[in-house]
């Protein structure tokens, strides 16, 4: 298992830890009001105006500066829409407003993945079973190996270039994710079932393709190609950014994974502990956090996925303090450092785990004090 930097907690400590977080969440939820509503509407405004600006500039995209600016602005708009508006609204963070415009059950985002598929694979599966091997399909998305606990297959040798492709076309990876194709390959899911789930995936894909690669380019008339190209690049910009932020949430150096057996006895407090150990934050300024959908506060997001993201910054101060009180590692670092950790995992676990000979070398190295031994991960009994 991945070594843990957190000390094991007694059952009582786990319960007390959970109670403190429950109290924190209730305090924040009770204080929600006009300012939070205004915040999400301001994000909405920024999304709409940047999209209008970006698309308008692309219509003049025959001029290179307009094309570059328009593409960047549209990419920015898509990033904001997917991350700070769509992702958060679809989590139900603003359901309390009772406003159909910002409601989890009716929102659909500018992304190839349908809202319903996303709510199932992300809100339910990933957020409930975070970092549990065999249950959290976001751990490598069914085809990447990022932890030594995952079995190695020769195909994993290809995962560095495969990861690059995933980054470029991330929305399509996400769109296919809920179909569970990897389970189909393993024979755990029937072809019939996959075909049954396919039509909504295709409907959403068609809508997205038509919008960015037919309707808007056609509206531009003679400037069909610059608009089409700009839309394509804007989508790729959003894909790469979303990939980078999301991979930094759970695949950095010190995050932990858990065996399925933890679910047998897991209490609410233990669920909180797992979310903390399984997530990692990114340091950055306010603009960075807005553009990353506040997923730089991945820990806070995983503890309270349905608390409005504009509150994570203030929550983080308290979560960090509480984690410290209980000797739990609060995994945070610069974007560069955390992304480095992710890349290291993609490269390292493309290869099989240590052979006995290599393991012997590392044990000797540890004995000689060349590297420090660390406790292995365990969720307190």
């Amino acid at each position: 298992m991945t070594p843990s930097l957190s000390r094991p907690l007694s059952r009582e400590e786990v319960a007390a830890f959970g109670a403190q977080l429950d109290e924190l969440r209730n305090r924040i939820l009770a204080a929600l009001g006009e300012d939070d509503a205004r915040y999400v509407r301001r994000v909405r405004d920024a999304v709409r105006w940047s999209e209008l600006g970006g698309r308008a500039l692309l219509f003049a995209g025959i001029l290179p500066p307009a094309w570059v600016l328009g593409t960047l602005l549209l990419g920015l708009s898509k990033i904001l829409e997917n991350m700070e508006l769509g992702h958060n609204v679809m989590h139900g963070q603003y359901d309390w407003m009772q406003d159909p415009e910002f409601h989890s059950q009716t929102y659909d985002w500018d992304n190839a993945c349908s809202a319903a598929a996303w709510r199932h694979s992300h809100n339910y599966q990933h957020h409930t079973f975070t970092n549990i091997l065999g249950r959290d399909r976001d751990l490598g998305y069914g085809f990447l190996r990022l932890f030594p606990e995952q079995p190695w297959h020769p195909a994993h040798l290809l995962q560095p270039p495969v990861s690059l492709l995933l980054a470029l076309g991330f929305e399509w990876g996400v769109a296919l994710h809920d179909l569970e194709l990897e389970r189909g390959l393993r024979g755990e899911k029937s072809l019939g079932q996959i075909l049954k789930e396919l039509p909504p995936v295709l409907r959403k894909a068609r809508r997205q393709l038509l919008k960015d690669y037919a309707i808007f380019p056609l509206l531009a008339g003679p400037f069909f190609l610059p608009v089409l190209g700009g839309n394509f690049v804007a989508n790729v910009i959003r894909n790469v950014w979303a990939f980078a932020i999301i991979f930094c949430g759970h695949f950095t150096e010190h995050v932990e994974t858990f065996p399925e057996s933890v679910l047998e006895t897991e209490t609410r407090g233990a669920w909180y502990v797992r979310q903390l150990k399984g997530s990692s934050n990114l340091n950055g300024g306010p603009l960075f956090h807005v553009l990353s959908g506040n997923l730089g506060y991945q820990i806070e997001h995983h503890l309270f996925p349905n608390v409005p993201a504009n509150r994570y910054a203030e929550i983080a101060v308290e979560v960090k303090r509480i984690a410290g009180e209980y000797g739990q590692h609060y995994n945070t670092g610069s974007f560069a450092r955390q992304l480095g950790g992710v890349m290291k995992r993609i490269l390292r676990y493309a290869l099989p785990n240590a052979t006995p000979a290599r393991r012997a070398v590392s044990v000797i190295a540890e004995k000689l004090g060349l590297v420090h031994g660390v406790r292995s991960s365990s969720l307190a009994a």
Binding site: L32, R44, R48, G92, M97, E101, N123, Y124, H127, R268
Partner: protein, 381 residues
Amino acid sequence: MPPRRTHSTAANPSPLASFAAPLTRLLAAPVLRPFLDERVFDFYASQLGAQLSLNRILARVEAIRPEARDVLSFVLRPNTNWRGFRPGQHVQLTVEIDGVRHTRVYSPSNAPAAGGTVTLTVKRHPGGRVSGYLHERVAVGDIVELSQAFGDFVLPDPVPAKLLMIAGGSGITPLMAMLRDLLARAIDTDIVFAHYAHTHRDLIFADELVRLGKRHPNLHLHFGVTAASALPGELSGRFSGEHLDRIVSDPAERRTLVCGPRGLLDTVDALWEDRGYPEPPCGEAFTPAVMSATDTPEIVLRFARSFTDVRGDTGVPLLVQAETAGLRPRSGCRMGICHSCTCRKQSGAVKNLLSGAITAEPDEDIRLCISVPVSDVTLDL
């Protein structure tokens, strides 16, 4: 707080809005619908005119006038999405208070012919969130949201030759709409109209009724006060058989319409049955605005869409109780984080198991997995 405007100064919409309104209708044409994202459309439309929307009925407050103690009438001018109403029907009024949208049902009190406006007459309830907001904060020029009109409590068609209308308190509003409509259409029906309130100061529309009574010989007016001493010629105390005998000589020949508190309807129903009148009265009770938690464990869960009623349990989440009743609501994490089981609660009080908060708002979205009923509850399931 600045002084509230209660009379319209410049009612003219901006030139931009008058240009945009036909554009809205053009874009709303059926051929273009599939390509339109309503939220996106409404955002840009709202920049051109505050009332422009693809489907939503946004109404501007044109005038506010007092009608009785703690009773105000709001004259609303809806946008072109409004399809009108029949006197006696209701509309849902939605206002946003501190970031949260609240919806209440009111019956318009005006005649539909009156220039396309909708007049809602609202009595302020002690502690009433929406009525208090309407009375204190809403000003001329504000925009509120309406639903289309609905409800079957309407004038019989053709209009009967003789009518008896009995109004209790603010239950007068649908009957007032019918009365105004009948008189405006110069229909020569013989109308006996009895209007009850606690005291004289609480008699809504009293002055106007008196004026109408003087002008229209076919309108026979009777006022009743239940908590004050009646003036000569008025009815004293609650409606009774004795009152009925005083105001009509031919009750069996009249079509009777009643609107008021539940007790008034029960009295009328019992009296009609007792005396064996052929035509049962047509009545409507306004439900209390807020249902509060009951002490008795004897509660009823009503699954409106499934036409299923079951005995409810105040200790078990609604999700489990719905499943036990044989329903299959969508669900996910079962711990309140994923919002898969979000469901519209039409009425009743529920307790949130995570926060301990009890909410009794009509028409609010709740998560079934963490909500237990604390009163009779009706769900849109």
